[in-house]
Every structure is written in C-alpha cells, then in structure tokens.
Subunit: 434 residues, 2 copies
Amino acid sequence: MNEIKVGLLGYGTIGTGVARLLVNDAKFLKQRVGASIKLAKVADIKPGKRPGVKLAKGVFTTAADKVLDDPDIPIIVELIGGKTLAKEFVKRALTNGKHVVTANKALLATHGEELFRLAYRKKVKLAFEASVGGAIPILRTLRESFVATRFSSIMAIINGTSNYILTEMTRRGADFNEVLAEAQKLGYAEADPTFDIDGTDAAHKLAILVMMAYGTSVKFSKIYREGITGITPLDMAFAKEFGYRIKLLAIARSAGQSVEAGVHPALIREDHVMGGVEGVLNAVYLKGEPNGEAMLVGHGAGMMPTAGAVVADVVAIARGILAGSGPHRAPMRAWPEESFGKLPMANIKDRRGAYYLRCKVLDKPGILSKISGILGAHRISIAQVMQKDRHQDGAVPIFLLTHEAVEKDLLAAVRKIDRLPMVKAKTAFLRIEG
Amino acid sequence: MNEIKVGLLGYGTIGTGVARLLVNDAKFLKQRVGASIKLAKVADIKPGKRPGVKLAKGVFTTAADKVLDDPDIPIIVELIGGKTLAKEFVKRALTNGKHVVTANKALLATHGEELFRLAYRKKVKLAFEASVGGAIPILRTLRESFVATRFSSIMAIINGTSNYILTEMTRRGADFNEVLAEAQKLGYAEADPTFDIDGTDAAHKLAILVMMAYGTSVKFSKIYREGITGITPLDMAFAKEFGYRIKLLAIARSAGQSVEAGVHPALIREDHVMGGVEGVLNAVYLKGEPNGEAMLVGHGAGMMPTAGAVVADVVAIARGILAGSGPHRAPMRAWPEESFGKLPMANIKDRRGAYYLRCKVLDKPGILSKISGILGAHRISIAQVMQKDRHQDGAVPIFLLTHEAVEKDLLAAVRKIDRLPMVKAKTAFLRIEG
C-alpha cells in the first residue's frame, strides 16, 4: 500500500493544524511511515481558506457524509468537539469500519465505554492521545510503556488556563478576577472560562487517565470537582511564605480496593517537581511499581502541539494498517474487553491527608485555643499556625496547617469553628498534596 | 494464541527483575495483554536461586543454546551486557527469526546499524526502550508520539551516578572524590565508575537518542565527551551563587544541515525545568515543532524500573504477535530502512553559546583588564565577572560569564590567557545551556 487516506471532520483551529502537518509535512511523514498519508477529505460547516495550509481541489466539503461514507478512507479524524454531533459521527465512522482519531475529552469522559465497545466489536481503533495533556504523550505511556505498572497515585496539572491564572496570582500577588480578565485578553482563557476554572475540563481528562491507568471506566459524575475561584491573594501569600505553591490538581489514588479521583486546588511544596510547572505548561506525575516516580511535562493545549498528537495517532494507525495487523485486542486502551468493569470510587470525605485552613476571626485572646480545641476534639492536630497582622473589618486571618487527618473529621470541625461567635467568615480549606 | 513464550538470556540484577514481573505478575499482565506471557527459559552461566522469584522446574539452564534455538520461543530478552557475547546472541536470535528485547546501550550505540538492518531483513523487531533512561518512556515517545516532530534540540540528564554526585557536591559544597567514595558505598556508583563519570555511558545513550530523533545513525566516536572529574567545589559555589546548577548534560542540537552531539558538564539556570532534576533521577528535555517544549523525568536505572521497561517492550511485541501483525516497516525505530543515512556531525568547536570561565591569577592590578582584553580580541564579551577573596597559594580565582561566543574563539583566548605570567593555573571553562 503506497497511500493511506485520512478524512478530517472539523476544520477549526486544531483541524487546521492537523491539515498543516499532513499537507505541508507530507514528505517528512512519508519517510517516517513508509507510505503517504493523504488528507483526502475535509468537512466543516464553515467553508473558506484557513491560514498556513492549502487544500487540493475537491478536498474540502461542507457535507460530513462525503467523508464518513467514503469507502476509500480508512481513518477519520474527529475534531468537531461537543457531545452530540461528534458522538453521532464517531459512531457512524466506527460502524462503517473506519479507525477514528479524536481529541474530544468530553465525549470520551461521558460516552467512552459505549464507543470503545463499538470499536472493539468493529475491530477498529479509537485513538485519543490528544484528548489529555495535548502534546504530552501520557496515554501512550500508560497503555504501553507503563503496562506493567500498578499505580499508587497520579497527580496532574492538566488545565493550562487555571495553571496560568494561579501562576500569575502567585507571581504578582494579584486577584483572581484581575488575572482572569488578563488571561482572556491574552487568549489563555476563553470568553466563557467556566469549564476551565470550575475543574470540569480537568475532570474530563482525569476520567480518561483513571480509565487508562486503573483499567476501568469511572462514572464522570462521581469525580469530585472543586474550582479555583475561591483562592484569594491571602492564600497565595501564605503558601508562598511557607514554601508552597497552589495548583489545580487532578488526582487519582489507590485507596484499598477503590480509587479516589478528584480535581481541586491544593498546596504542593515548591521544591516538589510539580511545584515548578508554571504558566500554560501541563504535567502528569505518576507513582507506582516497578517504575517508581515519573513525570511528563509539556504543552497541554494549543493548535500545533495538539495537532501533533492527533497526527501521531494517525501515524500509529497507518503503521498498523501497513503491517497488516489484525484487530488489536487492546490496542488503544489499557484493558481487554473482558475486564471493562467499574472500579468502586472512594468518597473524598474519606481522604486522609494534610490540610490548610484559613479562618477569619476577631482579634481577641483565646480564639486560637478555641479553634485548636475543636480541631483536637476531631482528631486533627496542628502542624503550623500563623496569624497575620492585616486587619480587615476589624478581623484578622489565621492560617493553620494540619497533620494528616480524615476529611470528614475536618468538615465537622470546620462546621463547629464557623459557629463560634468570634469567627467572622466561613473558614476556607485546601488539601495539601505531594 | 493463548500463550507467548519468552526466553531470557542473563539472570543478573535486571534479569531477576524481569523474571519477577513475568512470573509474579503473570495474571495482571495476562489481563492487560489478553494472553499469557510465559517465561519459558532463563539462561545464565551462574546457576542458583535469585531473590524474590521462583522459576518453575526446567526453566533455568546454563546453556544459552537451549534458549536461542528453541523453536517455540518467539521473543528473546538479552540482558547479558557487554558487546561480544551479547552481539553474537542477538544476531543469532534475529537470524533465527526471533524478536529481541535488549537494554544494552553500548551494543546498540556501537553496532546498532548492523543489528537493525538484520532485524529488518528477518522481519522481526529489535526493541530497546530500557537502554536509554530506564523507566523513562523516551524512545517510544520519539518513535511514536513525536513522530511528526522536527527537533531543534534534545538535552538529557541520563547518567544517574554523575547526577547524584553533582547534586551532592552542590548541596553540601563537598569535593568530587569525597562524594564519589560515598556514592560507591551507597551503591549509586560502581567500583569502577569510569564510564559514568567520563561521559561514556551518557554518550552511548545520546547516540541512540540522536538515531531516534534525527532518523539517522551517528558514529559513536564522533560524539564529543567530557566528564565531571574536573568540577571543583569552587565551580559549584559560584554556580549556586549566580542561580545556576552544574549538570552532566547529553545534548543534541540541529546546527544547519548537521547535528551537534556532545556530553559535557554545563551550567543551567536553577529555575529551568531541568535545573530541578536532582539525585539519581534522569530527565530528557525536548524542543521542536509542532510540540514545543516537553520533558520526561523518571528513574533512569535501578533493577525494577529498568525491568519494567524491558517487560513493556515484551508486551508490545506480544500484542503485535496477537494482532497477527506482519513485519513493521519501521516498528521499533524512527526511520525506514531507506533513509538509514549518516547525518553529518557538527564539530563542538563551532558551538555558539555562553561560557563560564574560572581563572586562577595573582591578585595584582590590571589582570582583569588583560583577560578581558584578550577575550575582546577574540570577539567574546563578558556578561558577569566575580573575583573571590579566597586566597590559594597567593592566588585568587576569577569567575567570568560570557555572552554568546564561538567555542574555537574561546579556546584560542583561553590559550592566550594561560600564557600570561600572572595566571597561575590552566583556566577551566564550562558551557552554559538552557
């Protein structure tokens, strides 16, 4: 076979990047694959040229059918986004016996199981490296390089927008809304940044990571989610002073026979390898045996890095076609069909770990002993405490770091603390990781 | 096929780790692969039990022939090490039509081309992920995930022994020989550490990285090599004071139509992501398009991490066998047979970059103006200069950081500086990277 045809659905930013690589680097890719990979059809509802690439005549169409039903195209790339039309197209492509490459994390996080089963039945591949961490080769690593690994934990910075915002808040001591507005101006945050800052985007990706690392699918709605909107410059200043950074972390952790999975802001030591992952960079930190600890860092988003990951999936499928490889039993995922089970999810209230607390109290004698008394009664011991001098409405902030505690004990203690008359605002808390 | 047999040559430390995973985790691996991977034969000249694993009766043999000539074994793992017997065994296994997995970087760096050609001709795979960076999935990433990438540079910390030594020298201000002796006691350095500290081990790995990233083989002897034995506590103290770390770096860089490849100690900013890679950790930092920058960190050596990488290669080959995949055109390497060429190697004397200089001079007026005059005459401008107060034999050290310069200009200038009567020792220099 001298040529393998590819059909592209969705000619937006990432789609344009994919077209650039497939068209402009065709010779380079042919050298590496041993056959031409030809972008045969591109469909989008919006016609017109895209910057940096010129499609041959007859390649562009506004009719997705022409791509999905072309019997000469064995590989379909889905870059439409969303969960409705994209799902329909992916299902139809798989049903037609075509391999599919997608970057659609929301689709996979919510309908992954159904689509993987369909791909398995139709003996085709459903590849999705670009859906998590953009150019970071995390999924291939989980599926292949770390195939013999039993993971104790995975900790990921997989939302560039929130990492950029938190990095800038730390660096400049600036307020969340101020940095967000600026990030929107710079194009690092979307006009509607909800899914980035409330943890939804990171949770979609975490669902896929858990599926790959723990060999099971998780119910997306069961993943704990907490965003970064509540982080204040006070938290940032305290964290910095005590040698911590605040990051939005997506964490999966073995907890007995279940897995704990959640997205939330957390304090992490600045000398931890993940503490130095700044700005729009993404990173995944893995712990398990036999590998020990490992970390992958890179651009988690952006037109060309993401397009590169899509093209790598296309190449992998093309190489398989060239090698005449039959249906892989578990080629694009970490588990064989038979073990596609439900791993029980731990409740975050059972989390054991250290915590950071910020209370706002009237500056009167005895308050600290009251608070520490309540914590002690809930089996929580204090590792560090700091009272700041900055008066706000006659109140002062008190910061506490705890030793290891159970989250439901902490929640109960916080409820009691917040009922004290000298406490002037809801006590905020963050988990400490790493 | 319900069972795929594996033969192991070399039952030393890594071999024992591989046996542990294949025997003790057999059920776990079967779940992930969809068929049993059976350790059918293990050969070593030294009989006897190994810790943590029990081989079934009849599996162990002292006769390598029994493994190499067994027609029921499609996958051979070579963990003998060395270049003579290992080469003979690998060639024989490939000639017998068996896939081979090896961790032997010296063998591949010196005879890789011959072995890859043989594997290609015999339509089998030669896999070698564990040969570079242990548990870091760098080779699979170069071959698959970054298949569409044009690399501008690769910078790697790929020798754990030297990274441990340099980390401890920085941390404690200790002397090279003192830390080396301690590293030997702790098992982080071998009794004969020559290849680790003179850059040979890192250069073997760099040869493989260049081959994978630039799609060509390099003559090993053409790789520039400089070890860490000349690094003094003075260098460390200066680097630390100015916000740098000193690391043994293996660097490949595009230089016009050629590639620059060398291993040498270098100053790197402590806030660079590679500056924080401490102790026995390894890391590879990549720059190129479309990916942008990326970094992979992990355990570059050690029994179980390395064994995990070997087993991942075994699994990849087993999955290919199960999928009935024919000969991959370029399955275990980044280039097709046809383009197996020689990329011209740039000479390090043509390197453009910044430099660190340490001179030892008599503390007399005018010396600095003499030195800077010589540098200026060789088109080298000074970015920073520091004179330390610590008298040694009536002489003082002067430290200089240069702006970008060409290495041959620097060498010429240093020769002239060293001929000044007030200069009391050979001027030492280090490259600045990152």
